[in-house]
Amino acid sequence: MSFPLLTATAVLPALGAIATAAVPAAQRVAAKWLALLVSLGTLALAAVTLVRFDPDGARYQLTESHAWIPDFGVRYQLGVDGIGVALVALTALLIPFVILAGWHDADPMETGSRRWRPTQGFFALILAVEAMVIISFEATDVFLFYIFFEAMLIPMYFLIGGFGDRAHEHGDEAAATQRSYAAVKFLLYNLVGGLIMLAAVIGLYVVAGSFSLQEIVHARADGSLHMATSTERWLFLGFFFAFAVKAPLWPLHTWLPNAMGEATAPVAVLITAVVDKVGTFAMLRFCLQLFPEASKWATPAILVLALISIVYGALLAVGQRDIKRLVAYASISHFGFIILGIFALTTQGQSGATLYMVNHGISTAALMLVAGFLISRRGSRLIADYGGVQKVAPVLAGTFLIGSLATLSLPGLAPFVSEFLVLVGTFTRYPVVGIIATFGIVLAALYTLVLYQRTMTGPVRAEVAEMPDLRVRELLVVAPLIALLIFLGVYPKPITDIVNPAVKQTMSDVQKTDPQPEVEAAK
């Protein structure tokens, strides 16, 4: 029995969470450091996983399988394919930055009871989310996945509702209600999605008699498990609904702007860069593999929704007055691209989508965290409250610009590669869809540059005149992310090599092959 690497990757942050929560009220700083170290440890483990993972090896590697609830036919079954391992790495990578960026976000403002320990709670919750996200990336048992898919809502919910932009509200009751509204909205949307998925999960068990992904996929492949078309479609819809809420896909998106707007920047990053990825990931892993036929059946509708998300999200981003909400709508647009790539059912599309998940995670983290630093300085989320920051805090402005450029997927930065792959992947099968999606890149330029212009350029406003430039801690957060953006933009091979085989597998699951060019190149 080899060392259970995957379990360790998930368990370490979980234990870390408990430990952090247990740190006595007085030792806030200790709690912070503990959390940071744990997250770094997790990163190390994830790195080991990445190294141990052999792209050309078996489909699911580092697998672990133990009986858990035989009565429900549930096994504790872990295993990663290229897609999973990439996303685990992404999660483990981002959390330290999130923690570092949120270093002071949870220092207690008001004097609650002496047992009230917001700081410990904040970091413990972040680690808890990390643990749950990681395990749901690793789970190859539908039920196991579902459990953590649902459970991660709770810590997330406390993170959103419990901690807001502090500078922005000193005992401000309105802001507090706003925040709890956002938190509740987040929870209810995802809970409804999850519960509907629960019905589908139960249905799946009734039909398939097992929760093991591989078993079901094999059984379907060799025909030993037959699903009636209508059943398969209903189950697919049940699953897809939950994932579409999480992703989020238009018109189920409205919780995201509230959540990201009200939460602190690091938490917002946690939502959009980490937690939401579970949704798109699950589409790729569960929807396509469990219900290939239904997936193909639903593709047209989903593509349309994805297109709407892309354009609609971008347009609304243009119309926002609030920096964070703007980023949120931008993310909606980007998730549109991801889903587009997944359901274009081409190699480029799916590899692109996976790559997109990673890149979007990094780029949004960069942009959102810098935005958070900006907001924490001025104490306002309104774009109109800024102007001329570039002159006062050039480094902040510069990093913000790079973040923006990444968001509009400028060639040379990571997101370009993934976005172009998604577009090509879509175009090869659905040219019109591809072209419409391409409009997204113009709109992206519009909202990011408008944001940059309104906040950073122009005459220096009095309120920002004294604004300090990025501090060392903040630079430590941003610089590596930017470096990563550039590196992956120039040399995405490390990821694509890992992802491609997994995508090939998925493609064969749905029995699709890429369309061939009409003129064969003279090789």
């Binding site: 429900f72 809502l153 209810l188």
Partner: protein, 552 residues
């Protein structure tokens, strides 16, 4: 014609002058009835204690007797189960009056554990400020005296306490132990009354808010009696239908396996109208006890008015006992009637799930809120009952086990949050509790999440088990409704969490009393069970599975 036949039957009976043969003494398997007997005995002892033990030491004696008895009874149950009475040796005891089988033992075990925790919460006397140097519990000093009257003041001054609650509790438990294992309608009815009557009384003896307490008692009593009258009439009709009280016989008649029907009695014997009406009325009586819509309306008022420890115990144990009886009735007596009662139960389950969840949304009192949530849960459990499969039984058993602990724990937490007027049950008072005492708030949050059925809590495991059974039983639509109503339900549980954690504490808000180890144990047990059953439910599922078969 038939009348004359009957007449002749009598006359022959009268004229026949052979000597009346000795009534042979009934054969009672005392060992296998020991759990019940122990509890009843202890209750009687408790009464004697009231009579003879000096007032000062009554409290301790009573608590001691109760705990010991319940523990003994529980170990007896375990012993029986261990020696296979739950599975292989399952059989009908006491001349066919009582069944000793898996479901019976499982539920008895659950009830007894709930009872022990109940005793703990009953015995809690650190929460209320001391009156005249005497520690006081949740019960009136002298239930008979008018609240606020001189006699009561005197009683308080004298340090009286209503220690009768313990024997009452024991009587109730004994009734509950019999209820799910009753194997004929008479036993069913008697057990029903035996556990109902003490509960009526217990509802009436709150120390604070006595008027509400008494009102609760009156409502509970009148409605309960009303319901049991219906039950009794139903029993009568079933008797009329089958000519017997015993489940087995009725079942046979239902299945038409009884051949020797006196043609003279064809008018009644095997008359389906009697059967159907009787079934409906008996089932209605049980639905009243489980608090299913539309027989639920007593629940909120009683839950709110009764002393919180009583509410907790009642909410947990009554549901367990009543569902046990309902299961046995439907699975043992009326399986042949499945196609008649299933549609009706479908409807009941649906309105119960939705009704409970929807009305709960606008509640402002935590106890009423929990009451409505208990209604919604009754609906979920009904979904499992309808499955009519071994899986259905075991899932219901599991759900009941999980649910009872969560409930007792939750109400125990409610007893801790107090202000000048006793327990602060109005939700607005709970605002910002998470800031004041994060631990208590967190614990309560765990219970709420369990109620909401969030994964990694027992609530989820139970819900999944029940829904899965229902789905496999072909009640997919029911699962969908259940899912929807759980979504609705989630909303108000979350509302409470929001209130506790995200809203600013009110300056004149309630304080959280530090309880004695008794209540702490109850709460801790609740949390532990909730989490264990959430994370590693397999062991208990196995228990439930083994216990999933009724003896006929």
């Amino acid at each position: 014609m038939s009348a004359s036949a009957v007449h002749s039957l009598w006359t022959t009976a009268a004229t026949a002058a052979e000597p009346i043969s000795k009534i042979d003494a009934p054969k009672i398997e005392y060992a296998q009835l020991s759990p019940t007997l122990i509890v009843i005995g202890a209750a009687v002892v408790g009464v004697l204690v009231e009579a003879f033990v000096p007032r000062k030491s009554r409290y301790y004696t009573q608590v001691f007797v109760a705990v010991v008895a319940l523990a003994a009874a529980f170990s007896a149950v375990v012993a029986l189960a261990a020696s296979g009475y739950g599975t292989t040796k399952a059989h009908i005891a006491a001349m066919g009056a009582i069944a000793v089988d898996g479901p019976a033992l499982f539920l008895q075990g659950t009830i007894l554990l709930a009872g022990i925790l109940g005793v703990f919460t009953f015995a809690e006397r650190r929460l209320d400020p001391e009156a005249h140097g005497n520690r006081v519990d949740a019960f009136a000093a002298q239930a008979s005296s008018v609240p606020g009257s001189d006699s009561e003041k005197a009683a308080v001054k004298a340090g009286f306490t209503t220690t009768e609650v313990f024997p009452l509790l024991l009587f109730a438990i004994s009734g509950m132990l019999v209820f799910p294992s009753a194997n004929d309608l008479l036993t069913l009815f008697v057990a029903l009354e035996v556990f109902s009557l003490p509960l009526y009384l217990l509802c009436a003896v709150a120390r604070r808010k006595r008027l509400m307490s008494q009102e609760a008692a009156v409502k509970y009593f009148l409605l309960g009696a009303f319901a049991s009258a219906f039950t009794l009439f139903g029993i009568a009709l079933l008797y009329g239908y089958a000519g017997s009280m015993s489940y087995a016989t009725i079942a046979h008649v239902v299945d038409g396996t009884v051949t020797n029907v006196d043609p003279a009695l064809a008018g009644t014997m095997g008359n389906d109208v009697l059967l159907l009406m009787g079934m409906a009325l008996v089932v209605m009586g049980l639905l009243f006890k489980v608090g299913a819509v539309p027989f639920h309306m007593w629940t909120p008022d009683v839950y709110q008015g009764a002393p919180t420890p009583v509410t907790g115990f009642m909410a947990a144990a009554t549901k367990v006992a009543a569902f046990g009886a309902l299961l046995r009735l439907l699975y043992v007596v009326l399986p042949g009637m499945r196609w008649d009662w299933r549609p009706v139960m479908w409807a009941v389950a649906i309105v119960t799930m939705l009704g409970g969840a929807i009305v709960a949304i606008t509640q402002t009192d935590i106890k009423r809120l929990l009451a409505y949530s208990s209604i919604a849960h009754a609906g979920f459990i009904l979904a499992g009952v309808i499955a009519t499969s071994p899986d259905g039984v075991s899932s219901v058993l599991f759900y009941l086990g999980a649910y009872s602990f969560v409930t007792i724990g939750a109400f125990a937490v409610v007893t801790l949050v107090r202000d000048a007027g006793g327990e602060a049950t109005h939700l607005s008072k709970w605002a910002g509790l998470g800031r004041r005492s994060p631990l208590v708030a967190a614990v309560f949050a765990v219970f709420l999440l369990a109620f909401a059925g969030i994964p990694l809590t027992s609530g989820f495991a139970g819900k999944f088990a029940v829904f899965r059974a229902a789905a496999e039983g072909g009640a997919g639509a029911l699962v969908v409704v259940g899912v929807i109503s759980s979504a609705i339900a989630a909303f108000f549980y979350i509302r409470v969490i929001v209130l506790m954690f995200f809203s600013e504490p009110k300056p004149e808000g309630p304080t959280v009393a530090v309880p004695s180890p008794l209540t702490m144990t109850a709460i801790a047990a609740g949390v532990v069970v909730t989490l264990v059953l959430g994370v590693a439910p397999q062991y208990f599922l196995n228990l439930a599975n083994q216990a999933g078969v009724f003896v006929r």
